[in-house]
Point group: T
Chain length 151, copies 12
């Protein structure tokens, strides 16, 4: 498989495992990355994994994924609630995006209830902590294979 699966993570996710573990769990982002890489290696699918606190970098990465990814798994963190530019980038690149949230935003502050990303994401997985990335990956693998098959 030439195209792969990109996993993009937004602001403050580098602190995962440190920041408010009662809400976000103790697993670090590094550990999540390793687990996903292992699973992708099994399937022979390339995995690209990034974290950034910069909205602009996230948009640049989405644009880059346009030619290189079958599916993007995106945990945009707080940008999900404020960035229309990110929303437009997702629409522009035209490949399926799975939005992941560690916690369940609907169960928290009102300003976390609306997600610009969710409006254009194909699927949403929220509230499962680190397990959510694995669920998203299974769906991404499923779609990537469909694409490969139909291309």
């Amino acid at each position: 498989m030439k195209k792969g699966i990109w996993v993009l993570n937004g602001p403050n996710l580098n602190l995962l495992g440190v920041r408010r573990p009662e809400i976000y769990g103790k697993t670090t982002l590094k550990e999540i990355q390793q687990e996903l890489e292992g699973r992708c290696r099994e399937e022979g699918v390339p995995l690209v994994f990034h974290q950034t606190n910069h909205e602009g970098v996230l948009i640049d990465l989405l644009h880059e994924a346009r030619e290189k990814a079958h599916v993007v798994i995106l945990n945009a963190g707080a940008f999900a609630h404020t960035s229309i530019a990110l929303r437009d980038a997702i629409e522009a690149v035209g490949i399926p995006v799975i939005e992941v949230h560690l916690s369940n935003p609907q169960a928290r502050e009102p300003f976390r209830r609306h997600s610009y990303v969710a409006e254009v994401a194909r699927g949403v997985v929220a509230g499962f902590g680190a397990l959510g990335y694995r669920l998203a990956l299974e769906a991404a693998l499923h779609w990537a294979k469909e694409k490969e098959a139909s291309s």
Copy 2:
């Protein structure tokens, strides 16, 4: 395993595969049930599967699940947006609930954006069509085993 996984489906889901297939897909609820049953049989976990158009029946079932289920997978359909009684029932039974939606409600009409169920669900899976039930089941199995182990 004595306790199992309950999958409860709300109004209009009996029409799945018939109603607006461009949004909800062509798989019928029967087919989803069979697929989930197969997967549970592999794991030796009892599966209970219901559909009803009656809010009261859904609440009665949740109360019954209280003693019999480790995890509930709930596709409450439109009741998710209007039923505080259902929300209270979930809180009252005190077992983890995974909310499933076939389509992504955030990408549809404004009145589908808020979910009373999501406020008290532990996890949310939306937008994956029939595939979403399988993702939810994997998470449910994961939690059920944790519970068995710690009980």
Copy 3:
């Protein structure tokens, strides 16, 4: 004509003629049914007529009408303002629905101004009391004949 016209009535309409006659008039639901049956007999069109205080029953009936009715005349009572499940059922069954209200909801309390049913109904008749059912029936007969002709 094999398929007919279904007239479905929601909560509290069984009290028609008794409840607040200054708003809803003195005619009982029984009398309305008899008048509509007479008119349908003239036209040779089967009429099915129900009243229920249960949202779930109303949804079940709409699903049943899917194969048996050309047109549904629906007075959903207060469910019109609160039931997205009912709205989805109408959309799902895909046959034309005429919404009837005895009084004019726009001229009453603010919470009666919005109708989920009206959003998906093809036509709306409101404020004519019992006469409204007869107007709706004329339209329903008109459409039923068109359907028969084109089938």
Copy 4:
């Protein structure tokens, strides 16, 4: 019968049959007028029929109808959503008004959901296209006869 039925039409209805036929149908306003005139002739009731794009003219006509009409059938077009002056005129003239809309405003843009006219109209008929005028006329004839009888 000395007093008659007045049918007043507001802005852009002169383009009926031309403007967005997928929403408003292909029948012209002229054809509707002729059909209503035929029906009134049968009943021996005078019919007055007007169309104007001027809110002020519509108010002047309503004032004039005060002494000359039993019932007014009013398709105020977009004025229904914006004109409190029209609402006050209806209240002032004190004769029953039936509001007609070709399409169903509840199923369109949000700014079409509220109608100042509906707040003071006795009955509302919406979504039936040209057929709606005929339904309104039947109701108007019914009320006109009651008035004649009781005068």
Copy 5:
């Protein structure tokens, strides 16, 4: 006394004493019923006591109470905040209703602040836990006697 006092309880109240005792207390609904029955026996007033998770059943019961009760004590649970049909049923049956809530809804989530039932109830008692039923019963007995006296 021929007519009595009806006590109707809505969704999730069957879990009273089990569900979130820190908010709702440890007394079960059975114990409340027995206490109220004892008090009514002293006064020679018939008591009818029901609980249901079905909105439709609650409406049916209110209709039935119309001929059989002097006063209705209603703890509609979450339906208080969402059911206009219930509100209409109370208005329709025309007998005084006392709304009871175990907790004080004004001190909880925003969506519990508005009650359709309260809009048409004659009296409201909230926040007293099981004691609230007894206070409501005293008021109901007071009114029932007034009615008996004046009938």
Copy 6:
């Protein structure tokens, strides 16, 4: 005095004395005009008095008053609540405007609470019925004399 006082009246005020006398009183607009003319004659101030149901005519008159009036007394009727064009006309002509309302709009329907005219009027007189015109005239005469003196 060369410039005078203009009294402009908006929609439905021609029905004064006829329309809802319990709110607007029994005095006709003709009688008000005569009373104001008498008072102006005493003071030697020209009075111009108009009524129209057309927003456009009201704007044309305001433009004309620009060179001919010291003060405008304006009862814009329902246009006060909806016409930004009227508001702009008042700002554009740059002479003091006194807004008069027969009833007190703050004590009526919510949509009568906001007045675009009041935002740019110098003074407001509301709720005094026909007496309000006389109060407004006294203020207008007061200001007109100040202007004459300072010119």
Copy 7:
């Protein structure tokens, strides 16, 4: 005349002539009082005139006016926008109240646009500066005479 006219002034009006003269003018409250007293002396009507920064005192005075005044002229200052207690006091005393504002609240900050006092005042005079008190007094004298005549 035994009963008189009461003029009650609320918070910060003691600073009149000092506070922001570009909005409120240079006349002091003392000067206004003297002018009104002169006018009342001509008519033989007793005048009572108060200013207070205390909401409670204003309510006490309104209660006292209940037996002693034909009409109350009330400039409640900022309390007009915030005090429901004052609103209730006006309703409770049951005598006509004229609300006066020196400036035109509709032309200022949004929080000055709504007045609880205006909702229950019979008449409103705003934007005329000190002249507004005189206009209000004329109306008050007019109503006081009518009352005397009819008593």
Copy 8:
């Protein structure tokens, strides 16, 4: 019993029995006080009873009750809807408060629907007229005895 029950009444309640008897009933505040005093005398519990139109006095009294009362019964009148200071005082004194309203605020104007007092009151009794004070007193006696017992 050393500590007693304090009954505090806010603005306009001194007019009880006079002001709008169709809403508030004919019983005067004096009569209510006497009835409550009689009941407390039976139980040997001291009763303190006040009415004031001054928000500041009400807060001073609440502070004073801090050391002297087991329970406060508070009818804050219109202050319930506007006074955050009163709300804070209730929170600060830390003893249980029962909010009483003669009428049912939920059934009246929208601005009476929210109560800052209710947010921090333990119990609420509304809509029972003078009878409501008696119901509140029974609850207060119940709680006072519990406190005595546990102290």
Copy 9:
């Protein structure tokens, strides 16, 4: 070229150059018309230019332009913010409309921020004063030529 460009101006634009020159500039509407006519003469395109304070006349003109104009340049003034009838007329005539505003409505009062015209206009030019008409004309000429070419 047979069809031309129509420039339609709404309320108060006849006062251009006079009304608030600090916002709208000193150029009169006559001067703008002459400049546009000069430019159109160069291109051999007919120009029609109107101003009216009447919403109805503006709608009549738009209907007339339907057969006679390639492009309409519309400065609807305040009607842009209030007239749904104008919006419907633009949609009905089906030719491209360029909305022009002399000032930038987004930088002024909140009620000028929404434009019903902008919702259906193809292009918007705002804030350039008289220069804005020239920019709009260049775009209109561009589109007119495209139409001529493709017809």
Copy 10:
């Protein structure tokens, strides 16, 4: 220095050190006063310090400060959120006001987020507990010296 610094404290601040110490700290208002007095004595600046639960008294004190204070430090407590009269008093007296809050209102209930006082205060210090008074005093001393220097 003749003029001094006034420190005015609103409702419930007399309970400081007692009321909810986890939010407001354990320091009493007396201790704060003494600390500020010590600091002012060092600088030779008169200090006036008051606390009241009465909005009217706070306004009276602000009026008095008008001639006697260079700067006012104001902790208006809950009145900050509800009293437009207080806001107007600050504007009227025209001397710089520093708003102090012990806790950070932005981090608490929504109804504490808006402050009428903050709209007209020159500076705001919030969330520092008793330390906040000292920070405010330093700023006040700074401004007082500037005023002395420039007078």
Copy 11:
């Protein structure tokens, strides 16, 4: 001419010609740049042209333009709707800004209707696709010459 015209483009505009051509057209940003450069060369005005997906870079560029540009043409993309920092930068640099949008935001999703940029831009051009840049350039050249002339 020493100072020039700066054209700044925000997020996702690098995808122009690729992203949703049915809305944004097929012209690439490169082509637009070349066309504008040609036009500026004719006029002897330096042109600076940038695109970035980073809000911070856009602000840095605006600060740099402060000394180097007569006019800025800004297509801020989605940042227009969310970035107050960008708005403040425009205000801070104090040179005229022309806001350009390829599509007409008023005709799209509600969250595109408000533009922080438009609040401080001098002119707005929207809905003309690539042609809009040319119109903006003409206006910019016009203003740049005025500035040169007056400097």
Copy 12:
């Protein structure tokens, strides 16, 4: 002291002293930095001082401060009103943050009234211009010493 105090400044603050001096004063950010450095040198506390127009850089700096600072003084500029990512970063790093604003945002445009930063800041200082940084520094030194003492 090993850990120090970090002062972080957001967008457009590099223009301080240049941008709108009537609101923000004439002191430059350089001058503020020097004054704070002098004060910290006296106390032997390390000071780190940054300004950036990039939200991502501000978040990176906050993360870095996590191990190196006792207290952060943060003037987030406009990001305070729009950046939930910044809010989350403050929560995540878990050290006390003092929010500083040069002007008083409550006294400016509505969109400056809400601050995501203020929701999680421990203290807020606003409206004192450059003096505000010094007040914040005193508080920061106070807290830093407490921390040193308790560590």
